[in-house]
Amino acid sequence: MHTKEKTSSVVIRLIIAIIIAIYVLFPFFLVVINSCKPTEEITKNPIGFNGASIPQLTQNLGDVINNTHFLFWSAFGFSALITVVSLVLLALFGSMAAWIICRNKTKWSLVIYFTFIASMIIPFQVVMLPLISTFRDVGKFIGIPMLQSVPGIVFAYLGFGGAMTVFILNGFIKGVPFDLEEAASIDGCTPEQTFFQIIFPLLTPVITTVTILNGMWIWNDYLLPSMMLGQNGAVKTLPVAVQAFVGSYVKQWNMILAAALLAIIPMIILFLIAQKQIMEGMIEGAVKG
């Protein structure tokens, strides 16, 4: 299918690709190399290897991890907990709701579906202020703190992530043959058995997609946790902790970059493991969303 191309043009393209890759990856290199230096060396020479050493790296990382403003393990733990619980609940409740909306062609299911779709355009800024007061009041009313708490923020992610999750799942469920469900129902399956034993397992690929999309969003989200958890609360996610930490260590670049390194390592590791799924998931989400 390809016409014959000159070797020279292939080589030129390769060189261009390499130059762009260097440009794109250079910031990551800078983070790593400067996390291995003391502050004075960074200001003197931020690009080279001068002054970089592994002991200095361990010292910087140690300082950051034990810093009272950052508390890496606590922030990492809360980020992981909030992300994982939100993702599990979004996948479960999202597919349950999407299935009902998709299979019940009533006026109400259409109203719910279009409300979900329309809500996707709402910017977070419009709801964030009343959200805080609503959550404060609801928390007082039911006796469970909704602000500065893990259940509260998970609940918020369920609300904000619900629309896109249902939208993508709905598109997939439409393509699942209805005969399967009819057959199950003739065999005496109750609706919930049909869903959990027949439909839910079929949704694995699309649940992977929504989990990747929601996961990238929740793990990196800053504004929602900073509003709901506050800068000084006991519960902090990684982005909030980085922000609080930088605020208290202005211009101490070795510390800031070491903190940045710690914050990006989990994502990079995950990307190296599941690169294909992540990239495909992001494409699917965009094309369908």
Binding site: L131, L158, Y222
Partner: protein, 352 residues
């Protein structure tokens, strides 16, 4: 009813009743005492609601079982959606017409908040640079991403590596990469240029935000363009090659028209995400930058885009209802622009 065992009936009714009692009791304590008594009350309500759900699930009926399942399946997500999105949205629109301060409100002020924001030069400036930012980004990100996609669909070695490398920045949250780039602009770039940091001057700081945004976003948009380009059937390209079309003609007459739907998606994505841009703005410049004369005013929020302006109005300056009014306007602008964009793109797609 005869098909259900006595045990199931008893369990269902008992759960329903105990569940309702516990929930009402738990809530009743709140109303009676009036104070914020977190503690065992929350647990009581949770157990009450779970019992109620169990009772409903085991309710001895064949006729309404399907309806009960529908309700139970929809409830968790819809309830969360209602409390986090719909109620705050309605409250927020209402609050924008009051003097609400985040905790209580004294009275309605009509359109005063809206009238005030159109007289505030710093806010008008934010609108202006947000639009500028959106236009620059939409064009630049799409052009860069499309060129990258062409590069990454041509025959070169290590395609997989290049795609992954270009996409990599998209994995990092805006706050963290904002600080990384703050370091690069103020410590690394200055080593080469020998002058001030780009971030200290409003114009170059604005340029810096655009550079960072392209760096972060182009790889992602590239992936979508690659998918689009891969859907072009091979025989079409072959036919054009046989007809003697040069690469430029193939690009403009075949490739671009055939990926029109992809272009729509990518413009929409870049448009909305550029409008909502907050994290990078906050971490990179925090909106600072002086503007000597804008409508006769001296401004200090040279790089503050809409989302950040709303945030600082409400959260930093504690002007909640004013910030909320700005947010409502933001919502209206975003919705209008998105609808117009989709309309135009759809027309274009039909023409092509």
């Amino acid at each position: 009813m005869g098909t259900f065992s006595i045990g199931r009936k008893t369990f269902s009714f008992a759960s329903l009743i105990i569940g309702i009692v516990l929930t009402i009791w738990g809530l009743g304590v709140a109303i009676a005492k009036g104070g914020p008594a977190y503690s065992s009350r929350g647990a009581l309500i949770v157990i009450g609601v779970l019992l109620f759900i169990a009772g409903l699930y085991y309710f001895p009926t064949l006729k309404y079982h399907r309806a009960i399942i529908n309700l139970l399946f929809l409830f968790p997500l819809l309830f969360a959606f209602l409390v986090t999105v719909i109620i705050p949205l309605i409250l927020g629109i209402g609050y924008s017409f009051t003097d609400w301060n985040g905790i209580r409100l004294k009275g309605f002020v009509g359109f005063a908040n809206y009238a005030r924001m159109f007289k505030q030069a710093s806010f008008l400036w934010s609108i202006l640079i947000t639009f500028l930012f959106v236009v620059f980004n939409m064009i630049l990100v799409n052009v860069v991403a499309f060129l990258l996609a062409l590069l990454c669909t041509s025959r070169i070695k290590g395609l997989g590596f290049f795609r992954a490398a270009y996409f990599l920045p998209n994995l990092i949250g805006g706050i963290v990469l904002g600080y990384i780039w703050q370091f690069i602009f103020s410590n690394v770039v200055t080593k080469f240029t020998g002058t001030y940091s780009m971030l200290s001057d409003t114009k170059t700081a604005f340029l810096a935000i655009i550079i960072v945004y392209i760096w972060q976003y182009a790889g992602y948009i590239m992936l979508i363009y690659i998918t689009g380009l891969n859907t072009i059937p091979g025989d079409v390209l072959e036919a054009s090659a046989i007809d003697g079309a040069n690469p430029m003609q193939t690009l403009f007459n075949i490739k671009i028209p055939m990926i029109a739907p992809t272009i729509t998606i990518c413009t929409f994505l870049t448009l909305t995400s550029a409008f909502k841009q907050f994290d990078v703005n906050l971490a990179l410049t925090n909106g600072t930058g002086s503007v000597p004369d804008f409508l006769g005013n001296y401004l200090t929020n040279g790089t503050e885009m809409l989302a950040l302006n709303i945030y600082s109005t409400a959260v930093i300056n504690n002007e909640y209802s004013f910030g909320e009014a700005k947010a409502v306007l933001f919502f209206i602008i975003l919705a209008t622009v998105s609808i117009i964009q989709v309309r135009i793109s759809n027309k274009k797609e039909v023409e092509l």
